[in-house]
Point group: C2
Chain length 144, copies 2
DNA sequence: CCGTATCCCCGAGGATACTG
DNA sequence: CAGTATCCTCGGGGATACGG
């Protein structure tokens, strides 16, 4: 194989090479919808549970808890409990978490910068030539 | 210069403000597992369907087709059919697709660079913690 | 306020078989 | 080879209720 088209993410699954799997698993986690939003929302400093819940529209309490636990386990956020009444829990990016902020925000900003172009592309695509009914000679068609 | 904790991704859901929704939808799509892998795999140039299938380990034919259609609809990849026998179809990043490459690869490389640290964090986390007093960073107590 | 524990549903996505 | 069409499963994730 030429040096060009190699696998970027995976390496070959050697008999005992769990490293590739690890990369995939981690990428799946941080590429996760809610993880991305939580990381991005914690950009400017610590937030408590209820603030996160309010700022991340549409997340359920369950998913917020679960995802935060995952990120904590990954060493990306810290969880700080203040034994006050009522209880208060702060979440904050760790050092490593803040390094993740850069690629994550790059993705977010790319999306914001290109959303009009993408919506336009949708309209173009959806207006594509309708597939002909029945077999027509020499026509390469597409389903809708 | 900080309105500190503003929503980075969403704006408030005005009665008719689909723009925010659009951003979320797009981010969900490109943050998608298979989309990320396809974009990354197309980094160095066009690939045909079967090559993509082979290079992206674990993807089913169905998901490859579906995800490629989505990316094509987004204007991120082009689909080129060569009317040969047997048929041959090439997929290639568009201009816009290549601009996406940068943030995506940043994420991929971050993951590769930090996977050992994350695995280490897992081991630390999974070692049962001892309860502590006062506002302390880290876990106060956790159910198992 | 900050969770955890249950129930339950729906749809992402795999497996398989079939066509141009 | 490059899809499309079905079927079917399995677990992500919402809704709800309760506990510290």
């Amino acid at each position: 194989m030429s040096p060009k088209h190699t696998e970027v993410i995976d390496c070959r699954p050697g008999p005992d090479d769990p490293g590739c799997r690890a990369t995939r698993e981690i990428l799946d986690r941080i590429g996760d919808k809610w993880s991305l939003y939580i990381i991005a929302t914690l950009e400017h400093g610590p937030l408590r549970f209820s603030e996160l819940k309010r700022l991340i529209e549409g997340i359920s309490q369950r998913m917020l808890t679960l995802t935060l636990r995952g990120l904590e386990r990954d060493g990306l956020v810290t969880r700080t409990v203040y034994p006050s009444v009522p209880p208060r829990v702060d979440y904050e990016l760790t050092q490593m978490g803040r390094t993740l902020l850069e690629p994550v925000m790059a993705l977010v900003h790319w999306t914001i910068a290109h959303k009009e172009a993408i919506v336009a592309a949708h309209e173009r695509f959806d207006a594509a030539p309708a597939p002909e009914q029945g077999p027509v000679k020499g026509v390469i068609y597409r389903q809708r």
